[in-house]
Structure formats: C-alpha cells, structure tokens
C-alpha cells in the first residue's frame, strides 16, 4: 500500500506534457507584471516607492538596522530607484518575450524582493504570490514554446514540440489551492459566518480604502441579500478548494472504479471551482481598486488547462 502510494507520488511528478500551458502562464503573468511596472512609472511613483527618504522616496529603510542589499551597494539617490525599476521592467520584459526566461524570472524575484525590503508597505500579498509563481517558472521549461528563445533555437516560435516536465504546472495548481484554502481557513471574522449574518462582503464594500465606487446602496434589498449569498459562496468555495486536487487525481486515474470519479471526469467538475474563481476575481476587479490582484491571479489560471485542452477551448470560444 505504502509502496503503491509512493510510486503514485513519484509518478505524478514525473509526467511530461507539451509546454503550451506553462508558456501561456509565462506570457500572462509577464504582461501583468509589465503593466504594474509601467503603472508605477506613469503615475510618477518610481522614486517615492523605490527611493529612500533623503532622495525623495518614502522608505525609511536607511534608519533601520537591516539595510537592503540594493542600498548597501548603491547610493541613496533617485537614480538608484530608477535603476531598480529598470531592472524589474527589463527582467519582466525578457520573461514575457521568452528571452532567457528562467534567468529573467530569478532576476525579477531578487529585484522584487529588494523592493519589498525597501518599502514593505507597498508590497501586497499578490506580490508575494507573483514571486512564488515566478520561482516555479524559473525551474520550468516555460520558454520552450511561444518565445523568442524557441525561435532562436529551433527556427519556430512554437519550438520543437517536444514534451517537458509537467510538475511546474502542477506546482502552480498546488500553490493556488493552498492559497485559496488558507484564505478561507483564516476568515475568522464572525461576519463570514451565519453568526454575523454573512455580512462580510457588505462591510468590505464599505471600506473607502479599497472600493472603486460608493456601495452604500447595497444596504437595500435584494442587494444586501446578494452580498450575503456571495459571502457564503466565497467561504464555501475557499474551504472546499482542495477538492480540485481530488478531481485532478480522478483525471489522472479515469479507469479506476467509482461513479463519482466517472461523473467528475465526464463533466470536468474542476471547472466549476475554476469558473467560480474567475467570476470572483472579475467581480473584485469591477468593484475594488486592488490593482493587479485579480489579473495576476487569473494569469495563473492557465495552469488548470492541460496542454491538450487548448484546442478544445479554442473551438468552444470560436463557436461562442
């Protein structure tokens, strides 16, 4: 039994597949990071967010004992802030285009982590998730297709079509499952429960710091009821997210017995959780000013698509 489980564990991390899904994640995630970097520049926030107090920045890091490496080696001047921005932008651009994507991903992570140390207040949870995902990309073969590297090596932007290790894509799925589940587990506020009448989402949509527009009208019915239902669905969806791993297990072992397994495989049940997540993020994008949060999350969603499913998705979209 243990041996069988061990062999199964080794087997699922030894699968190979076309690098298409990894490449799509690379491009989507890269575009989101590029957009964020350009937004910092467009809004004139490079020096404020990356510079130190004496150089027009907001970071008080030079007054603290642990000075980030960036300012240990570079002067406390606005040019250092611009250099950091340029480094982040260049590595993100190379990553997106598929120019040394693995080295670019590592470079981006190291520079982004420096930014995090310089002004932690400007670094949100999504930035941590982006760095986690970029590290996974750094150990993947995400540049084997749809990249300039593939064009250079094989003469075709689509690469040589050879299969690569699938485990980085599976690791991205594990990351998403862990994040959603833990977010659900940590919702300890009573407003996320029946004891607080599932009023959490209503209260969140009254928080001036994050909302996109005035939502005081949600106090009226049936809108308040809709927020209550949404709160309940959110908690249920997050708590139940690990079931997606069970569905993927079923997809890997479709020939084994079990009616629920057959049902889950036939009707692609994992797509229910993925679709609810997509709607959840699009609603966040429409109602809250959380910047790249929903888009960076959605950029990781191609991990749920097996490389052989892209053709099916394309045909469905064409029909639609």
């Amino acid at each position: 039994m243990i041996r069988r489980l061990l062999n199964y564990w080794i087997g699922i991390w030894d699968l190979k597949e076309h690098p298409r899904s990894l490449a799509v994640i690379r491009i989507c995630l890269g575009l989101v990071i590029l957009f964020d970097a350009l937004e910092v520049l467009r809004r004139g926030l490079v020096v404020p967010l990356m510079g130190v107090l004496d150089a027009g920045g907001w970071s008080s890091v030079l007054l603290r004992p642990n000075i980030p490496l960036w300012y240990q080696y570079l002067p406390a001047e606005p040019s250092s802030a611009y250099l950091l921005w340029a480094g982040i932008f260049t590595t993100a651009l190379c990553f997106t285009l598929g120019i040394f994507p693995r080295i670019s991903a590592v470079g981006f992570v190291l520079l982004s982590a420096q930014w995090n140390q310089i002004l932690p207040q400007a670094d949100r949870g999504i930035d941590t998730l982006v760095r986690n995902a970029m590290l996974i990309m750094a150990v993947s073969q995400c540049g084997r297709t749809l990249s300039l590297q593939a064009l250079w090596k094989t003469g075709s932007i689509y690469g040589d079509g050879e299969d690569v290790q699938a485990w980085p894509r599976h690791l991205v799925i594990c990351q998403l499952v862990l994040m959603y589940f833990m977010t659900g587990v940590q919702k300890f506020g009573l407003s996320w429960t029946p004891f607080g009448y599932y009023s959490a989402l209503y209260i969140i949509l009254q928080d001036y710091a994050i909302i996109r527009m005035d939502f005081s009208w949600l106090v009226n019915q049936p809108f308040y009821l809709f927020t209550q239902l949404s709160s309940a669905i959110t908690v249920f969806w997050q708590w139940s997210y690990p079931i997606v791993l069970l569905f993927f297990h079923y997809r890997l072992t479709p020939d084994r017995p079990g009616r629920f397994r057959a049902f889950a495989v036939k009707y692609h049940l994992h797509w229910v959780w993925v679709a609810v997540g997509a709607v959840f993020h699009l609603l966040i994008a429409a109602t809250m000013e959380l910047g790249i949060f929903p888009w960076a999350m959605l950029a990781l969603y191609p991990a749920f698509v097996h490389p052989t499913e892209w053709r099916w998705i394309r045909e469905k979209l064409r029909l639609a």
Partner: protein, 220 residues
C-alpha cells in the same frame, strides 16, 4: 501510467518536491496576528471581541472579557513564537526571495475604515481637493489610490511615522503644482464606523492623523 519502476532521478525529484510542498504548507499554517493589549483596545477589535463574547455566553461558557483577552494574548504569543522559531532556518530564503505563504486576505473585514481627505488653503479658506471615492474631488487620485500607495496610508497606526509624512509632502507638492494659489495643504483621515444592516447604524466619524504642509516647506 505509473506501472513502470520509477527512475532514480524521478525519486529524487519527488522527494524534493515533497519537502518543498511540506515546508510551504508549514509556512501557510494560519498564524494569528501577535495580539497585544493595545491591539485589543482598537474599536474594531473591541467590536469583534464583543461578538465573540456574545457567542461564548450563548453556548453557556461563562468566561469574562478579561479572561478571553488574556487568553488571546497568551495564545497568539505562544503560537507565533513557536512558528517563528521553527521557520527560522528558511528565514534568509524568505528575505532574499521575498516568498511566503501568509494569505490572511480580508480575514476580519474592517468595520472602521479610514477615508483619506486632502484640503488646500487658498486665501485663508480650506477647499477640499481630494477625498477617497468622491468623483467630485479627485486631485492626485492617480497616485493616492494606486494599490502600492494604499498600504502607506491605510495601514497607518495610531502614531503616523515618517513614511506617512513623506506621503503627505508628496501629495502637497502635487497639489501646489496644480494650484499655484494654494499656500498650504492638510491631509486627514476620517474614521467611520460601518455596521451590517441588521445592526443599528453609527454615524460617528473620528478625525485622525492630520498633517499640515506649507508651500514654503516643500516647494522652496
């Protein structure tokens, strides 16, 4: 699919990934915020504690408010200290790679949100130029409402530090450039109390963190 004997390389990879996943799951364990006495004096914490007290009493447990407060402080200190100790070996990795698994997103919605407001003084009169979520007053909105700037003003504690003051000076410079006639600005936070519809409304608004910046301090 998994019938063949795995290779040595596959075994090593699977072992490494098992370690990575286990360590990330450990980092993701729901760690409570290290609660202090002053944290529990905050209005949102008082309100949350009040809700928990009602629930505890409703199921027949007769703990006092002070007992619960002491328990929360001791328990959160014990658990965070132990988690910190166990995750110490990978701390440098977390520092230099900026990775982590803390996902407490909207764990307890903020019932006392702050609303940032900026006013400019023209001929001795204060005129509002920016207020969050106010389509009529949006000067510097591009900067103030950016997600990376939000953490600088929204997470301000009871005593705003140098970073908040630096933000206020940045806002001041932007306003003075657009309003040559303004000779001072003031940045303020208005803390509202938002209640769920099934509870009585509370229109109390508390003014916080007023910072005045004069033109001559930042433009000359």
């Amino acid at each position: 699919m998994f019938a063949t004997e795995p290779t040595r390389k596959a075994k090593i990879r699977a072992a490494l990934l098992a370690f990575v996943i286990a360590s990330q799951m450990f980092l993701a364990l729901p760690m409570p915020h290290r609660v202090s006495e002053s944290d529990l004096r905050k209005p949102e914490a008082k309100e949350e504690l009040g809700r928990w007290m009602s629930l505890i009493h409703s199921i027949g447990i007769d703990w006092t408010r002070d007992e619960v407060k002491t328990g929360v402080i001791e328990w959160t200190h014990w658990i965070t200290d132990n988690h910190k100790g166990l995750s110490k070996p990978i701390k440098p990795l977390r520092r230099y790679l900026g990775i982590g698994q803390s996902w407490a997103l909207f764990a307890a919605p903020d019932t006392h949100p702050n609303r940032l407001q900026v006013e400019a003084r023209i001929d001795g009169e204060w005129k509002m130029v920016f207020r969050r979520v106010d389509p009529e007053h949006r000067m510097m909105n591009t900067q103030i409402s950016f997600r990376r700037v939000r953490g600088v003003h929204d997470g301000v504690s009871n005593k705003p530090g140098k970073i908040y003051h630096a933000l206020c000076e940045f806002i001041a410079r932007g306003v003075f450039e657009q309003m040559p006639q303004a000779d001072a600005i003031r940045v303020q936070m208005y803390r509202h109390h938002k209640t769920a519809p099934h509870k009585p409304t509370d229109d109390t608004v508390v003014l916080r963190h007023t910072v005045n910046v004069r033109r001559k301090d930042v433009m000359e």
